[in-house]
C-alpha cells in the first residue's frame, strides 16, 4: 500500500485546522461533550451589497456590476420617460363624455420620428453589447497560471479536488490568485454559481467545462461539519434544475490567505491517514457521512436512499438497522443491474454466493450502486469509484455496523446503554 490514501480521499469534509480540533479528534467523547454544551447558533447572512447587487468579491465583479448599472440607469431613463409620458398623455387627451373629439389634424406618421426612435435605441444597444462582450471575454478566458481545482457535481452534492489530492465539500480557494475550476457531472445537468463572484457555468455530463475567478479578500473559515448555518463565506448554488434536492445542493466558498490556504490544503489531504486506526470509524465516519447525509439518514427517516439506522416506519419497518438488514439479508430486492426478480438480499450474501460477506455488499453499493436496489428505492446514487479510498470505505462500513453509537446528525456519542 503506497500512500494511496493521501491522494484518494475523495470525500469531503473534515477540517482539522486548529490544535483544538486535533485534540477533539483524539478524544471524540470530549468533542461530544463540548458540542452538546454549546447550542448551535444560526447565523443568517445579510443580503448585503446595494439595492440590486450582492457584495462584489471577485476581480471581475466590478466590470459586470458596471455594465449592470449602465443598463439599469438607461432603463430608469426610458421607464420613467415612458411612464410619465403615458400618464401625461392619457390625462391631457382624455375624452369627456361620449362624444369623440376626433382631431383630424393629428399626425399619423412621421418619418423623422420613426427613424429617430429606430436609430437611437439601435446605437444604445450596440454600445451595451460591446460592454457585455468585453466583460464576457474576460470571464471566459482563464489566466494560464491559474490554480486548478477539479469539480465533480452529482445529485445532490459537490466534490472539490485539489492538486495535492485533498478533497472537500465546500470550495476553499487561495486569495489573490486566479482559480480555475475544471468541472464535470456524473449524472444530469448542474450549474455552479457564486453570486458574489458574478460567475456561473453549467456542469454538463459527458464534457468538461471551465469557470475561473480571482477573489482577493479572505473570508474566514468554518469547518464543514458545522451543525448550524454560518454567515461566513460566499454562497455557492446549483442553478440548473437537477431534481429533488436541487435547492439543497449549495455549499460555501471560503477564501483563505496564502499561508492559511497552504496549511488547510495540506491538512485536508492527510486527515484520513492521521486518524488512529482504532478511532477510524468514530472519527472518520462522521466526516465522510456529511457527503452521504443528503440521501441517507441515521434515525430511520426515509430519504432518497435507505436509512442506515433503525427503520421505525415505512415499508421496511421492523427490519432493523442497515447492518442488520445486510447481515440477515432480509431486504427484498426490487431492481438493479443484477436483479433476478423477487429475491432478497439473503439470496446474494453468504459463502459461495455473489458477496462472500456483508462488507463486500456495502463496498459494492458504494462503488457500483446500481447493482442491487433495495425495494422502494430508485437508481439515484452516484458511484464513488476513484473518490473513496479503501480506508474511507472501511470507516463507512464501521460506522454502519455501529450506527447506534451515532446521533441523528451523525456525531459520535459512544456506547449508549439501551
Amino acid at each position: 500500500m503506497i500512500d494511496l490514501t493521501s491522494t484518494v480521499v475523495d470525500i469531503l469534509s473534515a477540517t482539522v485546522v486548529t490544535v483544538q480540533d486535533m485534540a477533539d479528534v483524539a478524544a471524540p467523547a470530549a468533542q461530544e461533550a463540548t458540542s452538546a454544551a454549546a447550542a448551535p447558533k444560526e447565523e443568517v447572512r445579510e443580503l448585503g451589497g446595494d439595492f440590486w447587487m450582492p457584495p462584489a468579491a471577485s476581480t471581475l465583479a466590478p466590470a459586470t456590476d458596471f455594465a449592470f448599472q449602465v443598463i439599469t440607469w438607461l432603463s430608469y431613463v426610458f421607464f420613467f420617460g415612458i411612464t410619465i409620458a403615458l400618464v401625461y398623455l392619457t390625462v391631457k387627451f382624455r375624452q369627456k363624455g361620449t362624444d369623440v373629439n376626433y382631431d383630424a389634424g393629428a399626425p399619423v406618421h412621421s418619418t423623422p420620428l420613426e427613424v429617430g426612435w429606430t436609430v437611437i435605441p439601435l446605437l444604445l444597444v450596440i454600445a451595451i453589447f460591446f460592454m457585455g462582450f468585453k466583460g464576457f471575454l474576460d470571464l471566459s478566458t482563464p489566466p494560464k497560471d491559474a490554480y486548478e481545482i477539479n469539480v465533480t457535481a452529482a445529485q445532490w452534492s459537490w466534490s472539490f479536488k485539489y492538486p495535492n489530492g485533498a478533497t472537500s465539500n465546500d470550495l476553499v480557494v487561495p486569495a489573490g490568485q486566479p482559480v480555475k475550476l475544471v468541472m464535470r457531472s456524473s449524472d444530469v445537468l448542474h450549474s455552479l454559481y457564486i453570486p458574489d463572484f458574478r460567475v456561473k457555468k453549467d456542469v454538463v455530463p459527458g464534457r468538461y467545462s471551465y469557470l475561473w475567478f480571482q477573489a482577493d479578500e479572505p473570508t474566514g473559515f468554518v469547518p464543514e461539519d458545522r451543525s448550524a448555518r454560518t454567515a461566513i463565506g460566499h454562497h455557492l448554488f446549483c442553478t440548473e434544475y437537477c431534481g429533488k434536492d436541487h435547492s439543497n445542493m449549495n455549499r460555501k466558498v471560503f477564501v483563505l490567505d496564502e499561508t492559511e490556504f497552504k496549511e488547510w490544503e495540506t491538512t485536508q489531504a492527510r486527515w484520513l491517514d492521521e486518524v488512529p486506526d482504532e478511532d477510524l470509524y468514530m472519527v472518520a465516519g462522521p466526516k465522510l457521512f456529511l457527503r452521504c447525509s443528503n440521501c441517507h439518514s441515521i434515525d430511520g427517516t426515509a430519504g432518497t436512499g435507505p436509512s442506515w439506522g433503525d427503520q421505525t416506519s415505512g415499508s421496511l419497518a421492523g427490519l432493523g438497522t442497515l447492518w442488520e438488514r445486510v447481515t440477515e439479508g432480509t431486504s427484498p430486492i426490487d431492481g438493479g443491474t443484477r436483479d433476478n426478480g423477487g429475491k432478497k438480499l439473503a439470496d446474494y450474501i453468504g459463502p459461495g454466493k455473489l458477496y462472500e460477506t456483508p462488507e463486500d455488499y456495502i463496498r459494492e453499493s458504494i462503488y457500483n450502486p446500481g447493482a442491487l436496489l433495495i425495494s422502494g428505492y430508485g437508481p439515484n446514487m452516484p458511484h464513488f469509484r476513484g473518490q473513496l479510498s479503501d480506508r474511507a470505505v472501511d470507516a463507512i462500513i464501521g460506522m454502519i455496523k455501529n450506527i447506534d453509537q451515532f446521533d441523528p446528525k451523525g456525531r459520535y456519542v459512544g456506547d449508549v446503554p439501551n
Partner: protein, 567 residues
Amino acid sequence: MTTLEATSPNASNAPDPPVDNYLTYTRGVLSWVFTLDHKRIGLMYLVAVLGSFLVGGIFALLVRTELLTPGATIPGVDADVYNQFFTLHGAIMVFLVIIPSIPGALGNFVLPIMLGAKDVAFPRLNLGSFYLWIIGAILAVLSLVYGGFDTGWTFYTPYSTTTSTGGVIPVVTGVFILGFSSIFTGLNFVVTIHKLRPPGMTWFRMPLLLWALYATALIQVLATPVLGITLLMLIVERVFQIGLFDPAMGGDPVLFQHFFWFYSHPAVYIMILPAMGIISEIISVHAHRHIFGYRFIAFSSVAIAIFSFLVWGHHMFTSGQSPLMNVVFSLITFSVAIPSAIKVFNWMATLYRGSISINTPMLYGLGFIFLFTIGGLTGLHLGTLNTDIHLHDTYFVVAHFHYVMMGSALIAMIGGLHHWWPKMVGKMYDEKWGIIGFTLVFIGFNVTFFTQFMLGSHGMPRRYYNYEPEFQIYHVISTIGSYIMAAGFFWTLFYLVQSLFSGAKAPANPWGGRSLEWQCTSPPPHDNFKTTPSVGDCYDFSVVEWDEEEGGYVINRSKVEESSPDH
C-alpha cells in the same frame, strides 16, 4: 348631425331584436360539439383556456405559498411535490394557456370578422385543432395519474429521460399533440388572410391585429414542427434507450437545449406578437385616434417574427456552447429590442391628440405598455453577456419572463377579452367593477414580480424549494402580491360571469371602433355579415359618432364618402 345612419342591421328601435346570432343560430349540445363556426370554436377555446388558466394559477399560488418560508411550509409538500407544482404551473401556462390564448380564443373569434370574411379558410381544420388541444390537455392530466412529472416545463435532458416520475411520456406526447393544434391554427390563419380578404381589404388596410396574427401564424407553422421532432426524440430516448441526448448513451444534452429553444424562443413571440396586435387595436380604438406609424408597426411584427428564429442561443450563454456563438447570439438578440421599441413609441404617439376613453380595456392597454416596458428593458440585462452570466437561472429571469409572458401577453389577452366581450356575448360588464379588477391585478402583479428582480440580482436561483433565509423578505412580499393578483382575477371572473346574466345589452359598437367587427351586431350573426361589408380605413375615427338611441357609436356613412382612406 343631420343624417345618421346606423350601419348595424340590428334596428335600434325594434322592440324585439332579431334572435339570429351565432349563439342562437342552432341549439343543442351537438350544435356546439360539431360546430364549424369560428366564433363558437373561439368561445370554446376561451372557456378551455380560462379553465386551464385557473388550474395553472392554483399551482402558482401553491408555489408562492410554499415559498413563504425556507424549506417546508405547506404540510405534506416536500421538495418532490414542489418540483411537480412549478413544473405543472409552467407547462400548463405555456402550452395550454398562453400559446393558444390569443390566436385560439380571441383570434379565432375576431380574425374572420375583422377581415370581413364569413369564416376561416378551413373550418373543419379549425375544429380539429380545438379537439387536438383537448386531447393534449387530457394527456397532460393523465400524466398526473401516471405519477406526475418534475422535469420543469423545459424537459431538459438527461434529467427528463432518467427521472423516475412516470408522467413524462404522457405529458410530452400531450405537448407534441398541442403543437399540431397550434400548427393547424397558424396554417388556417395564413390561408385565411391570403385568400379570404373581401374587395377593398388590401394588406395595408388590415387592422394591425391581423398583421400580428399573420406574423404569429408564420412562426407557429415554421417553428412548432421542430418542437414536435425534439419531443419525439425525447420519447424515443426514454422508451427505447436510444442515445440522442443522454451522454451515458453517447448523446449530447446541449443538443436538446438547441432544439428546444429553436422552438421555444420563437414561441415567446407566438405569445407576445398577438398581444402587441391587441394593444394596437385597444390603444387606437379607445383613444379614437388613427394609429400612429401603421406601416412601422406592421413591419415590426414581421421583423420580430424573422428575428425570433435567430436568437435562441441567448438561453444558453452558460450552457457550454462556444463563446463565439454566445457573442453572435447576444448581438442578434439586441436586434429584437428595436422593433419592440418602435411599437411602444408608436403607441405612445397614438395617444397624442387623441380622445382617450379611460375604461377597463384601455387601462389594460396602458398597463400593458407599462409592464412591457419593464419586461423589455430588463431583457437588456439578460441579453448582455457578462450580466447574463450572473443573472441566468435566477429569479431575475423569472421576473423578466413573467413581465413579458404574463404582464404583457396575458394582460393583453385579458384587455382584449374586455374589449371584445360585448361583441362576443352581447352583454356589457360593469365598468366600475372592471376598473377595480384591473387595479387589483395590476398592483398584485407588480408586487409579485418586481420583488423577484431584486431576489434574482442578489443571487436567488430559480426552481428552489429551500432557500437562504436572507431572501425571505422578498419572497413574502412576492407571495402577498400573488394573493392580491389572484383576488383581482377571481373578481374579474365574477363580474364577467355576472354580466352574462344581468349585464346591459351591448350595442354593436360600444367603444367607437372602426374596424369591421364593430359593424355587425353584438353578438354577430352566424354569417358575420349579411352583405359583403364595405372596407374603409379601419383607423379613421372621424366618421364615428355617438348615437344616443343606439346607446353606442355608429358610423356616419355620409362622412365616409368624403374622408380619404389614405395612411
